[in-house]
């Protein structure tokens, strides 16, 4: 069993297509998850700024905010300027280039990311391995957490992780037989991060998998929380504290 478990991909708030818990804390308690990195659903399914405001209002150290950034020219972006992102004090930001209709590898986005300098999280459905490789070539220091990678794209994901050492992988949906161990063997457990995408995606299966990986306890601890610290640039702080 891992010493500390942090879910790097959690949602708070309502979704338009199901009746799901809006507060993740009861499920975190039930499944033995110590902390979670959280994005508010209003940022995804309504208005990015309103969702970020609701996210920061949660104000619980157990729920680490991952606000959504929409790069753009003045009047189109969230927040108004890239500089304001740093005022949030967030450790990780989330980008949704498909949902919010901006160009991930366009010069404007690259300029925002360079100025912000924070790791970013992005769902594979919002991009592609090829686009992320392009982003990594433009910004070689950019750390990227690829959310919801699924299991059907292992070949492409492996190519991306080979080409871009700044890419970490959320393992909640990496669920073809033995895939987490396969990735750990090739890229190291320090590039795999426990996350679920719950409550839209499942948290029970990934949480159980975490307890039953055929890896060393040290490797499992990395996936459960330690790799996230590496992604966020922490040293010895323990799971995005």
């Amino acid at each position: 069993m891992p010493k500390l478990v942090v879910d790097a991909h959690r949602l708070a708030g309502p979704v338009p297509f199901d009746d799901l818990p809006v507060d993740p804390r009861a499920d975190l308690d039930r499944l033995g998850i110590d902390r979670a990195l959280v994005t508010h659903t209003l940022s995804l399914y309504a208005d990015a700024r309103e969702g970020n405001d609701a996210l920061f209002a949660l104000d619980d150290p157990r729920l680490v905010p991952v606000p959504v950034v929409v790069p753009g020219v003045p009047g189109t972006s969230t927040p108004a300027t890239s500089g304001e992102v740093l005022e949030w004090g967030a450790r990780l930001i989330r980008l949704c280039p498909q949902r919010h209709r901006f160009d991930l590898t366009g010069s404007l986005t690259l300029s925002w990311l360079a100025e912000i300098g924070l790791p970013l999280a992005i769902d594979l459905e919002e991009t592609s391995p090829a686009e992320l490789a392009t982003l990594a070539r433009h910004l070689p220091g950019q750390r990227i957490l690829l959310l919801n990678p699924g299991y059907r794209w292992l070949r492409k994901i492996a190519g991306l992780m080979t080409e871009a050492p700044g890419v970490w992988l959320e393992m909640g949906t990496v669920n073809t037989q033995g895939a987490v161990e396969w990735l750990a063997e090739r890229f190291g457990a320090e590039r795999l991060v426990f996350g679920t995408g719950a409550p839209v995606a499942d948290d029970c299966g990934p949480r159980f998998l975490l307890d039953h990986l055929a890896l060393t306890p040290a490797e499992t601890d990395l996936i459960a929380a330690g790799s996230l610290d590496l992604l966020l640039g922490d040293t010895g702080q323990g799971g995005a504290r």
Binding site: F17, D18, L20, R30, L31, G150, Y151, R152, W153, L154, R155, T173, N175, T176, Q177, G178, A179, V180, E181, W182, A198, P199, A201, D202, D203, C204, G205, P206, R207, F208, L209, H212, L213, A214
Partner: protein, 239 residues
Amino acid sequence: MILDAHGHVGTWPDFLIPDPTAEGLVATMDRIGVTAMGISHLLAVGADAERGNRLALEIAGRFPGRFGVWQVYNPHHRTPLTRDGVWGVKLHPDVHLCRLDDPRYDPVWELGLPVLAHGQTDSPWSDPDQFATVAARHPGVPLLLGHTGLWPSGFERAAHTVADHPNVYLDVCGSKMTGRWIARLAALAGAERVLFGSDACFLDLRTGYGRVALAPLSDADRALIQGANLARILALPTP
């Protein structure tokens, strides 16, 4: 006793399966306490049902008591069927491009053994409506609705669609299934109609079973879903 209603061995062309072997499955089954798994060979689901079925039977013979065999029936190839040493028949209407209610499957229903069929909401080949149709035609044949229709947007409709057909069971494997949905399906259809399946090695056995193990279910309902129901359907000995 944990029984996995829906498993596979072998490779699949669409994507990489890091561990497609029976040996790997048995090691994982031992790790988490799964007694037995029903398998079809992915070669049989794909291009060569007859050879894939032979491979599945060979695997079951190598690991006594650990694997049951779902022999694949390809309606185009009119695959020979057997009653001996198998759990039943596996159908995949979406791969074979033949609707579940097509008369070309008549030899399967005439065999009378349990049938596990891929189910996919809104598919022209395997929508849950077709399960209701064939269940009404063949009420004596236990019919497992694979993946409960696969897409979360269709889970509730699948449960309602087959509610009046007590020979239909909801198999909960699939990459979009959640522990929460398993509990919902038990409430909607009754836990006695819900079956644990993992889809391993296509999917990871641990993730699939984890959804049942950690779903917000009563212990009694979990016991039904994770093994007792399938043991009853297949008349398997229970401890």
